[in-house]
Every structure is written in C-alpha cells, then in structure tokens.
C-alpha cells in the first residue's frame, strides 16, 4: 500500500476527545479516523466546487438539512 509520512498534530482537549470517541465508535485507530475524514472532506469539497449541494435526510426521506463546509 502507498507509503506514508509522519506528522505531529496539535489538538485541543475537546478535539482529542471527539477523535477518541469517533475512533472508539468506528473501531478505528485515531490515524485511520483522520485519514477517513480527509478523504470525505476532499470528496465533499470537490462536489461543492462543482456546484453540488449536500443534504441530510431524516427517516421519512424528507430533505431536512443543507450542509456547508
């Protein structure tokens, strides 16, 4: 798999807590959570750049929330 490079990341306590909770919930390492987040951010950002919009739906399939990044 692709070669990886190391970096130091400075997070606040709240950010670290959120990262640890996500890692626990998704059963991922903290590094894997951040890599996954970067992929998603890039993917969504490109769609926004192309003029697309991002909606979340509730259980009744009603468009309920427009998201911006």
């Amino acid at each position: 798999m692709a070669e990886k490079r190391t970096m130091t990341l400075n997070l606040t306590d709240a950010e670290m807590k959120a990262l640890e909770e996500l890692a626990e919930r998704k059963d991922l390492s903290k590094t894997a959570v951040l890599r996954q987040a970067l992929r998603l951010y890039q993917l969504v950002d490109e769609r926004f750049a192309n003029g697309d919009k991002l909606f979340f739906e509730d259980d009744e399939k009603k468009q309920s929330e427009l998201m911006f990044l």
Binding site: A2, D27, L28, A32, Q36, R39, L43, E46
Partner: protein
C-alpha cells in the same frame, strides 16, 4: 506503486503462475490499460451479439471514464500483472458506504466500485481464456487493503447479475439482496470474520 507477489492460473496448463498485485495505479495507468483491453472486449461483445448469445453485462465499461475519480483520496485502483500484461483491474472506494452486517453495522469498509478481468481471460469474450483466478486475487487485494486501512477486512460491493455467483460462491460473500438505490443490483458484503477465514484458508492452501 507497490507490487506484491501472488499467483493466478494458466488455463492452458491449469497450473499456478507468478503474478503481481499492483496498487495505487494512476489515472494514466488505468487509461493505458483500457486502450489495451477495449478492442478485445468490444469485438467479443459484437461477435456474441451477432451470434445471438448472451453478452457480458460489463461490455460497455470504459475505464477512461472511471479513472478521473483517482484524483480523489477516497478512490484507489489495483491490478494483477502477469506475462507483461494487466490481467485484471479493480477500483475501490473507502468513503462511500458503511457496513450493513453485524457486528460492524455503520463501520467503514472497502467498497469495490468496479472489478474486471482482462477480456482475453473471459470465456464468452474469447473461446480460450488465458488466465483464471484473477478476480479472486483482486478480491483478496480488497480484503488486505481493508485490513491495512483498519477496516478489519470488511468489503462491500454491488454485483452485476452475471457476477453474483462469483461473489457468493467463489468469494463467499454474504448476499443482502437488491438495492433500489443502485439500479436494483444485488449488494454483497464480507465481514471481518469472513475476511479472517478467507485469509487463513489462503495461507494454508
């Protein structure tokens, strides 16, 4: 690109032959592969159509139209190389779908967007395919990629009807049925336990 030793089957001798699993292909790599494949694929499909025989459902695939996704981190492309030619190609996504099967519902998986064996290895397209076992080696690549990403070998995909038997029987994936969101294609998933069992069997084979 990284290269990992593997093997596929030479159909003329029915013996395994060394091959390489290559990851991290660029869009240019993929476009070049399509240039090498498209003639055989389209000619085979045309011949089958004229003869009134079933045409492979992926006959219209064009990897040049898929490769642009590789500029995004979420997408990766893998290939099997043997005999100085690419014998199979697979594109995956790691940010599109989440696991549906217990005990990992909602957790990330490697989603196989496309998997194709080179047209000269597909029996309806050619009468005497060169190599076999290419698809299963690519599928193994998806499992190992899933493990390396911390996804514990979880893999998901939507299958064309003609490939359902391969994913259910050869790969041993769990079939969850048609997905109305994806043209009613059948959704298949591989759990962490299935992945462990698969890799254990590969190591002891």
């Amino acid at each position: 690109m990284n290269r990992i030793q593997t093997s596929i089957i030479d159909r003329s001798t029915r013996q395994p032959v060394p091959a390489l699993l290559i990851d991290d292909l660029s869009a240019d790599n993929v476009n070049q592969i399509e240039e090498q494949w498209s003639g055989t694929r389209i000619a085979g499909a045309a011949r089958l159509h004229q003869a009134g025989e079933a045409v492979p459902q992926h006959w219209h695939w064009d990897w040049r139209r898929k490769s642009a996704k590789l500029r995004l981190l979420a997408y990766s492309c893998f290939a099997i190389e043997c005999d100085n030619a690419i014998q199979g190609l697979m594109m995956t996504s790691t940010a599109k779908y989440r696991a549906r099967l217990k005990p990992d519902v909602g957790k990330p998986l490697v989603y196989v967007e496309y998997l194709e064996t080179a047209p000269w290895n597909v029996r309806p397209i050619v009468e005497e395919p060169k190599y076999g076992g290419v698809g299963i080696r690519l599928f193994e690549g998806a499992i190992r990629y899933s493990q390396s990403e911390g996804f514990h070998g979880r893999v998901g995909l939507h299958s064309l009807p003609q490939a359902e038997l391969f994913y259910a029987e050869t790969c041993g994936m769990t079939q969850l049925g048609p997905d109305s969101q994806i043209e009613d294609l059948s959704y298949f998933e591989f759990t962490r336990d299935q992945a462990l069992e698969f890799l254990l069997e590969e190591e002891t084979a």
